[in-house]
Symmetry: C2
Subunit: 303 residues, 2 copies
Amino acid sequence: MDLVVVGSVGLDDVETPFGKVERALGGSAIYFSLTAALLTRVGFVGVVGEDFPEEGVELLKARGVDVRGLERAAGKTFRWSGRYHEDLNHRDTLLTELNCFEHFSPKLPDDYRAAKYLFLGNIHPSLQLDVLDQSSASFVAMDTMNFWISGAPDDLRRVLARVDAITINDEEARDLTGQSNIVRAAREIHRLGPKLVVIKRGEYGALIARDDEYFFAPAFPLEDVVDPTGAGDSFAGGFMGYIARHDATSWAALCQATIAGSTLASFSVEAFSVDALRSLTHDQITARAAAFRRLTDFPAIVL
Amino acid sequence: MDLVVVGSVGLDDVETPFGKVERALGGSAIYFSLTAALLTRVGFVGVVGEDFPEEGVELLKARGVDVRGLERAAGKTFRWSGRYHEDLNHRDTLLTELNCFEHFSPKLPDDYRAAKYLFLGNIHPSLQLDVLDQSSASFVAMDTMNFWISGAPDDLRRVLARVDAITINDEEARDLTGQSNIVRAAREIHRLGPKLVVIKRGEYGALIARDDEYFFAPAFPLEDVVDPTGAGDSFAGGFMGYIARHDATSWAALCQATIAGSTLASFSVEAFSVDALRSLTHDQITARAAAFRRLTDFPAIVL
């Protein structure tokens, strides 16, 4: 096992201008593992309730995800419901029911503990700390959200101090640091712990910052973006999957991993829930990753 | 004369979280010509009132801008005042006084009419049409804004049908086409006339679209963005300046021009008004344009 993810597993109701789905597969660990599994072997840590469809577990297995860390608990599965605005850049959360997720206490199987790469999905920072205590990973990335930035700042700082990388969106980066300039925000986050800051910018792409180095990847230009849910976790799955597959965290590898993340995210948003990831092939992602080069490559400039 | 710009000349009051200026040099033709002049010879068409400071005209001349198309009219110069929000991505317009700009009727000196490249800055579409009738340019780019999209849609469509390129921001592109997806919006704009669509995205950079080709340039990562006023016109100045300097509109040249535009815009926003452009050197812009490559370049990816 090279890569382990700990995160949420949910049944989502999602409405976008292009339709809606109910009780669809969702949650950070689901999107992350389905994308990362295209690149490396992933161990899955999460919890589902009695109402979780067996089909979901079968999908993970069929896609090569190791589900020995999947816990089945009494009660219902975590539920989330959201409605996206016309431009897909904003959404309203209509419902959040923690259900069995409320008493989740992540437990890593023995060989998961030894995995070199670990991703702490967007869960309570105290649970992220629990997982860190169980893991001997040498490269740990975390995700978080506004809810924890304001609601559990002390625990969050403890996690930040112990991880190598963070994936975060513009708004969260500004909330976390109080810096509206994203270069200053990234520098401030470096000081809190993560040497690598990955800023997710939705339709504007992603940027990574380490020391004074920056790399930008655009979002792949898509005519049909159907459901942005899970785009950030799909990005993280591609990003960490690439790093684990090559066992490399050089700057060059991190830039390549950013393209891998953008590639996986671009597929994820083309259909509701995880539907676009169900049968996605290695050939498809290889072709799209290659197309990224043309989006930003330019001949030498003479001014 | 290779490149001509027609646009506004104003005295701006601007307030940002970093300070404020009053009656500072502004307007689309000012930003455009000061940036383009670093790359090529620019002819300036605009109007100023009796209160316009001679220092402004001297600056244009000192920077090599040809001001024979600058008209001096009775009354006051165009005035604009705006206040930026904390994140600099939004601003409130506090004042717009057309003054002598209200009765502006652009007249191109004879040799301006023969210039091969023309930029129609953000002025009333009926004036843009007047200028088109006077010019024999073979490559024309235009700018516009929401005010004309809703206020003068018929004239605007006539201009669109006659130009080769448009510079427009995300929100304007959506307003113009009714398409929230930017790929679809660009395609819709192609149908209205401009074969080349340049989408300006502020801190997220710029993208250009022609047929099914796309190229993205990030905004240069800056720790100190002081005043975004004129960033779009500075971009356009760098973009059109590059094209005119090389007399080339191949796809490769357009990609390079996008980097040139992003380079000039990045300097423009580092100080209030046009202050950062007053003494900007060719060496400085060459160095920053070279630094752009590292922001998006990555080694071949093996997924």
